[in-house]
Amino acid sequence: MLGEGILKGLGETARNFAGSFVSAERLTTVQYPEERAPVIEDTRDFPFLVYDGSDWEAGLRCVACQICEKECPPKCIYIVKSTDKKPDYVGKPQIYPTRFDIDISVCMSCQICVEVCPFEAIKMDTQFELSTTDRFGGLLYDRKELARSNEYYHSIHPTEAAEVDARLAEEKAKSDAKAKAAAAAAAAKAAGTVAAATPSAAKPVTPASPPSTTVDPAEGETKG
């Protein structure tokens, strides 16, 4: 009969109306600033730089290889290499970034920088409340603002961070073993020939090419 469906529909909306006051599961709205939906582990928005230990400047994993800068599709990363070196997590002296800027107003959260980084130094953050009244400077993050501890990384992406730590530990063990073998070989050599041997066992492992490329732009910058 005509109108039956209308009455049925009116009943449905009346039930919704009354039910929303009675049962909490009808109202699925999460009232954001007061309540928050649980964060999904794989969520991501903008990159940050991981550091080990307590000192962010000393512990920064980044070696300023500039792969992320080159791969970044919207070109939002800007890196300046250092002229000196500091030891990395295996104790090997490495170049570090004197400047590492990310313009998150340009960043498109594609995670390519994370995927190409060979040093597990750049990861994606979950922090999304980044609004600022300064649209240019406020959204251009330098390396201090980007630095986050490994513990923080563990707290936001526990599974991924555990995998990364395992991988780094494995690499460290491998390089330690290599260093030990090299040291042993050097010791044997030193024992054989009573010559004055240099103590640096890590020297042959250090890649030769990066220092030569880094020196030029750094010098160019200091000149300019």
Binding site: M1, L2, G3, I6, G9, L10, E12, T13, A14, N16, F17, G19, S20, F21, R26, L27, T28, T29, Q31
Partner: protein
């Protein structure tokens, strides 16, 4: 005491006016009445908008506005301030004068309808003998305003919306008038005060409202349908169908002019609700004799608010009609039933008291309803669609 509470506004107005010289008193009384109407109904409009936003939210299982003030109660104030401070944009090629006049005309016309509505006992601004006629005449002018808005905007969406609105409003004005004619036939008067007084009687403590008779019930339902369409409310909101026409005839309006259209629409809805309450629901009379001690104007406003709640409820429930469905419904279903209702009202009048007229009148109306629904509203079956030029 009860009498005083009932007449409180009348007494207040008389007391205020008594300070003026005698020759100014009549004009001052009228002015006070106008100010009262113009102050009261926008206040109810603010309340209704809040009710609508919160009620619709609840019907869709969400909270609705709840940020401004406690429980979002100050939301209408925020909305008002927002529309006041927004830029008023007039399209370059629009007819600026008509563009400005359209919302003003709408609001003026809509408020004029209240002049004849009996808001309470002795609370009719102009006690006109042909009050009903005046209301419909004024109500028809809203079409003018809508078309002015659509035409002056020089925008295809506005124009389409306005054309739809005018077609719809003219189509539904006929059944709206026809369903009220039955009331006029029974009362024997076009005066809204007399119509209310005719219903303001009780047997066994129950009121003589027209809605409690077969012809009155049918008339009320038909009136409600026509009134919904007349005020462009969902499910008859084709003139402002967002999915097709952006915003219909007020696409090119912004800022306070838009707010005026909004105000006009809601105040118009309240006016039509008030008319419906006056015609079928006993106007300002109490629903039970035992409740007669409550001031009459409270009943009138309660009935208006109830009607607004039903408007909101229907809006939360029904999807929008298609243009051809809208027209079919008006001309093939509502109009024939209203015409039949006139005949039934006549029968009711001349069959005398007794249970016989209840049975006969109800049976005729019910049979007609079922038959019209079966035959008139039957879905037409067309063959597979054929294209003449497109293939």
């Amino acid at each position: 005491m009860i009498e005083k509470a009932d007449q409180i506004f009348v007494l207040l107005a008389h007391w205020l006016v008594s300070f003026l010289p005698a020759e100014l008193q009549h004009a001052a009384m009228v002015l006070l009445g106008v100010v009262g109407i113009i102050a009261t109904f926008p206040a109810i409009f603010a309340l209704t908008v809040l009710l609508e936003r919160k009620g619709l939210g609840r019907m869709q299982n969400r909270y609705g506005p709840n940020r401004v003030g406690p429980y979002g109660l100050f939301q209408p104030i925020a909305d008002g301030l927002k529309s006041l401070t927004k830029e008023d944009i007039v399209p370059f090629s629009a007819d600026a004068v008509v563009h400005l006049l359209a919302p003003v005309l709408l609001v003026v016309v809509v408020f004029m309808g209240y002049a004849v509505l009996p808001i309470g006992r002795n609370m009719t601004l102009v006690n006109m003998d042909a009050g009903l006629l005046f209301f419909f005449a004024i109500g028809a002018s809203t079409e003018l305003s809508v078309f002015m808005a659509g035409w002056s905007s020089r925008n295809k969406y506005s124009l389409l919306g306005a054309m739809r609105a005018v077609a719809q409003m003219i189509s539904y004005e006929v059944p709206m008038l026809m369903s009220s004619v039955a009331v006029v036939m029974m009362t024997g008067s076009l005066s809204l005060n007399k119509i209310v007084e005719a219903q303001n009687q009780y047997t066994f403590g129950l009121p003589h409202w027209y809605v409690f008779t077969p012809w009155g019930f049918a008339g009320f339902i038909l009136f409600a349908i026509a009134a919904t369409a007349e005020t462009n409310r969902s499910p008859f909101d084709l003139p402002e169908g967002e999915s097709e026409l952006v915003a219909g005839y007020f696409t090119e309006y912004s800022g306070f002019k838009f707010a005026l259209f909004f105000l006009g629409e809601y105040v118009g809805m309240m006016g039509v609700s008030g008319l419906g309450a006056t015609l079928f629901l006993g106007g300002y009379s109490a629903p039970l004799q035992a409740l007669d001690f409550v001031p009459s104007w409270i009943w009138f406003f309660a009935k208006i608010m109830l009607a607004m709640c039903v408007f909101i409820w229907i809006r939360g429930t029904l999807p929008r009609l298609r243009q051809d469905q809208l027209m079919n419904f008006a001309w093939k279903f509502v109009l024939p039933l209203t015409l039949l209702n006139l005949v039934v009202a006549g029968m009711w009048r001349f069959m005398g008291d007794g249970w016989m007229r209840w049975v006969v009148c109800s049976a005729i109306l019910l049979a007609a309803y079922v038959l019209m629904a079966r035959v008139g509203m039957r879905k037409e079956r067309f063959g597979p669609r054929s294209y003449r030029y497109a293939e």
